[in-house]
Symmetry: C2
Subunit: 575 residues, 2 copies
Amino acid sequence: MKLEKLVGDRFKERPADCVIDSHALMLRGGYMKYVANGIFSSYLPLRRITRKIEQIIREEMDRIDGQEVLFPVVLPASLWQESGRYESVGSELMRLSDRNGTPLVLGMTHEEAAVQLVREYAQSYNKYPFMIYQIQTKFRDEARPRGGLIRVREFTMKDAYSFHTSQADLEAYYDRCFHAYERIFARSGVPEVVSVASDSGMMGGSLSHEFMLLTPVGEDSIAICRDCGYRANMEAAAAIVSNLRDEISQPLELVHTPGIHTIEDICAFLESPKEKSCKAVVYQQNGDNRYVVLFIRGDLDVNETKLTNFLGCEIRPVVIDAECGLHVGYIGPYDLNGDFTILFDQSLKGANNLSCGGNREEYHYTGLDMERDFSGAQYHDFAKIGENGICPACGKPSITIARGIEVGNIFQLGDKYTRSMQMLYLDQNGETHPPVMGCYGIGVGRLAASVCEAHHDAYGPIWPISIAPWQVHLCAVRADDPLVKAYADQLYEQLQIRGIEVIYDDRDVSAGVMFSDADLLGVPVRAIVSPRNLKQNCCEIVTRDKTICETAPAGEAAGQIAALVEKLLDSYGGK
Amino acid sequence: MKLEKLVGDRFKERPADCVIDSHALMLRGGYMKYVANGIFSSYLPLRRITRKIEQIIREEMDRIDGQEVLFPVVLPASLWQESGRYESVGSELMRLSDRNGTPLVLGMTHEEAAVQLVREYAQSYNKYPFMIYQIQTKFRDEARPRGGLIRVREFTMKDAYSFHTSQADLEAYYDRCFHAYERIFARSGVPEVVSVASDSGMMGGSLSHEFMLLTPVGEDSIAICRDCGYRANMEAAAAIVSNLRDEISQPLELVHTPGIHTIEDICAFLESPKEKSCKAVVYQQNGDNRYVVLFIRGDLDVNETKLTNFLGCEIRPVVIDAECGLHVGYIGPYDLNGDFTILFDQSLKGANNLSCGGNREEYHYTGLDMERDFSGAQYHDFAKIGENGICPACGKPSITIARGIEVGNIFQLGDKYTRSMQMLYLDQNGETHPPVMGCYGIGVGRLAASVCEAHHDAYGPIWPISIAPWQVHLCAVRADDPLVKAYADQLYEQLQIRGIEVIYDDRDVSAGVMFSDADLLGVPVRAIVSPRNLKQNCCEIVTRDKTICETAPAGEAAGQIAALVEKLLDSYGGK
C-alpha cells in the first residue's frame, strides 16, 4: 500500500511518559494509540505484526495437535465460583453484572472455561490426551499498567489447555509445548528468549516455566547461575543460606538500646555482623487485616511473592500503630505477645547468639538461640536470592540477578481445576479420576513489544521479516521526477505481482523525512529509487539492520529484492 | 486431522430449547457450547468456519482500501459521554467500573473509538478519504438472546468506519462497500442475501441498508414489493395510506357506549368500518415515565420502532391506572386533558366522521373531523406497513411481508459522531469542518449460522466449500480391514500433500455412525473407502449436497478429489 494513505501519525519527539524504548517507538511510529490507562488501539502496522505473530503461534500450536477454539470474553461468575477463584483472585479480576443482575467476570485466563467446554466430552480415557487453545482478548485490571504493551489491562493472548490421564503424559506434552514455544520465539525473531523455572502463583499446580526476554528494562527479576546455567525467577529460586552456628551459645540477655531502631544501628551498637541479627518484617493480610510478623536473618530481604504464596492471600506492608502491641524497631520473636501470624525464614534455623528486638521500647535481646529458645519452630524459604547467592542447582555462589520481560509461560496445573469443577473420566478399569491439566500462555502484544525492545536503534524498530508489517519499504526519492516516479511505480507493481508485501512511499517529501519514516516503520528491506541511482541505471537495496547494502541493475531489482526477501524469510524458519 | 481426536460431542437428539435448525445443528454437530445466556464457546469446526469467513471479509475490506486496526473491547465511559450515547443507549450497553471506580463500557459498536483513533491524524483534507476496520469481540446485553448464534450477547463482528470530506465522497464509498458486501456474501456461499433499505436507529445518520437472508425463521420483517422489487425493513418502509374524506362532515356527538371498549366493539355498535375509527395506543417513556398517547386509524397497527425513533428514547406499553387521567377503552383526542405527549399518525390526516373515545367512562364521540377539530395537528408516519400495503416506490398495493436474518448493515452516518466529538479537518480554503462518516458491520457468527440456516438438510449443515471446516471428509468404512486402513491412510497423506484440508474418520464404528457424523460436520466433499469399493479397486466420491456422486480408480482418487475441490472453490469466486 501507499504510505501516504497509512492512517496514523509518526513523529520525532519521545513522549515524556515513556520509560522504555519500545513504548516510545510504537507511539512515535504510529503503531498504537492510548485510549485509557493500560488500554490501547492498534493502527494497521501493529495489527499486521500481531496477525503474523498470531499465525506463527497458530501453526506451532496446530503442529503439537492443538485445536483452536474460542472462549467468551465475558464469563458467568458461577464458573469462577466453581473453581474457587472468584473469591481468591483479587481486584485484577473485573467483576460486573448484566441487566438482570447476574454476576459476570471478564476472562483474564480461561482454565474454567476450558474445563466447562470439555467436561462432558472427555468422560472416557480414550478421548485423552488433547489440547485446545484460543487467541482472544483478555482483560486484567492491573493496578499499575506500564511500559506500553508490556503491562496493559486489555491484551490479546494465546492460551492453551491440555488434558491428560497421567502426570507422565502431561510431562511429555509439556515438553512438546516447551519446544513449540522455542520455535515460536525463534520464528518471531527473538531466539534469545530463555526459559526460567517459575513459581505457579495463582494458577495453582506444580512445575512451570516462564519464557523471558532478558533486558535491563524488564520488570521481572531472574536468578541465573554463571556456572551451571540454572535459571529461575526470583519467586521460584530457593534462597540457600549456610546457617552458621557458634559453638557456644550465649545466654539470652535484655540490653538497653535507647534510640536504636534499625538493624544497622543495633549491629553497630553491638559491634556484631548483620548475619548475627534477627530482623522482623511486618505485613498485614489484605482480606482479614491480620498481622503477619516474619523473622529473617538481618542481612537478607523478604521475597513477598514467596510469602504471599505461603499464606495463600495477598499482603501489604503495614504502618504499625500503638494499639496492635508491636513496638516499632524493637520487635523480636522472644516474649512476643499478641494475636499475630509468626513466621521464621530458614536462614534462622539453628542460628544462635543473635540480637533481636526486646518487644518493649528501647530494649533488645542478645544471645538469642533459635534451637534453645524456639525448639518447635517451623522454618520456610521467604528470602530473596541475591547477587552472588548460592545456586540451588550446583551449590556454587554464582548467582547473578538479571532482568527480563515475560513473553510466555507454561504450567503443569495438576488436577486443581478438574477436581474443583468435578470433571471426571472413566479409566480402563471403570474407575473415575479427575484428569490433569497443563496451560500455556503467550501475550501477543507483549511479544511484539519485546521484539521491538530487543531489536531497535535510536531511529526505530528493526522488525524481523517474519513479523514485519511489510517486507519491503519502497522509497521513491524525488517522486516529482517523472523518471523516478515511473520506475518506482513499475517496481511497486512488479514486487506486488511476486506476492511481496510492499509499503510504497511516493510522497513529495525530502529524503530525510522519507528515511526517518521508514526507520520508524522498521521494514527489513528498503529499496531506494532516486535520480542519482537511476542515472547509474540501478536501484539501491539496503536492510534496516544495515547488514546488507547493495545495488541492483534497474531491470533486475524486483528479482533481486524478491530473492533477498526469500532468504530473510528462510532464516526465520518461516513457511 | 483425525475425527477421533476432534474435541466436541455429536448427537442425534434435537435439544428441546432450539427453535431454529441452525441452532440445533450447531449444537448437535459439536460446533459450539452454551456458557451463559447468549454466550457460547466455539469448538474447532466452528472456529475454522469463522476464521474462513473473517479471511473473506478481510480480503474484501482490503480490496476497498480498508486498513485493519484493533479497538479495545473495554472502553472508557468518557468516550461514550463525548458522543452522548452513554446516556442515550439503554441497558444493552454494559457499564462497569475498574478498581479505581473509573466508569467503563464494553464496546458494542466502535464509532467513538474510531473517531478517537483518527481525530488527531486526519486534521487536513488531504488525508481523506480513508477507511479503518477491525474484526473483534463485542458485547451487547440483549434482553432476549435467542436462536443460537443468531441473537447472542457476545459476538465477533467486523466493523468498518470510513471518513470523508463530502457527502458525495461518502456516497461513492458507500457504494463500493455495498458491492464488497455482495461479494462477501456470495463468497461465503449465500449469494441469496438481499439488501433492504433500513432505518438508522441508534446509529444516527441518514441512508442505510441491511443485508438480509430471507428465511421464515428470521426475526426481522421486511416489506417487499411484488411489482417493482422495492425492499425495506419495516421501520424504513413508509406506510402509505389514502385518507378517505367524506364529502359531508357530521357534527361531533357524544354517544353512550356502555361496556364497549375495543375498536371492534365500537365499530360493530356504530355499524361503521374500522377505517372510520380513531384508535388510541398508549406507551410510557422509559426514562421519565411520561405517557405517550398515539392516535392512529382503527384498521392500522403501530410500528414501535418508528415511534421510538421519533421520540428519541425507548418506550414500553403501559397498564393504565386510574390516577393518570386516561380512561381505558374510552381515550380519544377530543377533550383529552392531562400532561401527555399526544401524537397523530398520518392515517388520520384530513379524515372525518370518525368515532373515538369520549375521555369519560362509557362514552364515545362520533363525527370527529381532524381538519375541523384539530386544525393545527402535526401528522407523522407511525404505522406498520402490512400485507398488500401500498409500495412507497411504485405506488401499487403490492407489498408482501417477508422475514429475514440481518447478516450485515451499512450506514451513512453524516457528522453525528465527528461533530459531537469535535473532530475537525482543515479544507483547501483553510476552513474547518467535521468530516462525514460511514460505518459498515457484519456479524461473523451470525453469518455462519445464517449459511447453515440457508444450506442444511435434516441430517446436518451443507457448508459451502469456501467456509467449510474442512474440504474433504475421508471415511474409512471398516477401518479394521487392513486393506481399507492402508489405502485410506495413504489417501489421507496424498490429499494432505496436495494441500487439501482433510478430516479423516478411521474409527472402528459402523458406516451409519460414520456417515451421520459426516452429515453433521457438513464437509462438502466426502471420500469413502470401503471393502466393497476396494474390491472394485475404486474410491467413492460424493458431495454433501448429493449433486455429485462418482467413483475414482483407486490410483487416481487423490487427483480426482483435488480437482473437485478446486472446481468447487472456483465456483465461490475463490481467493
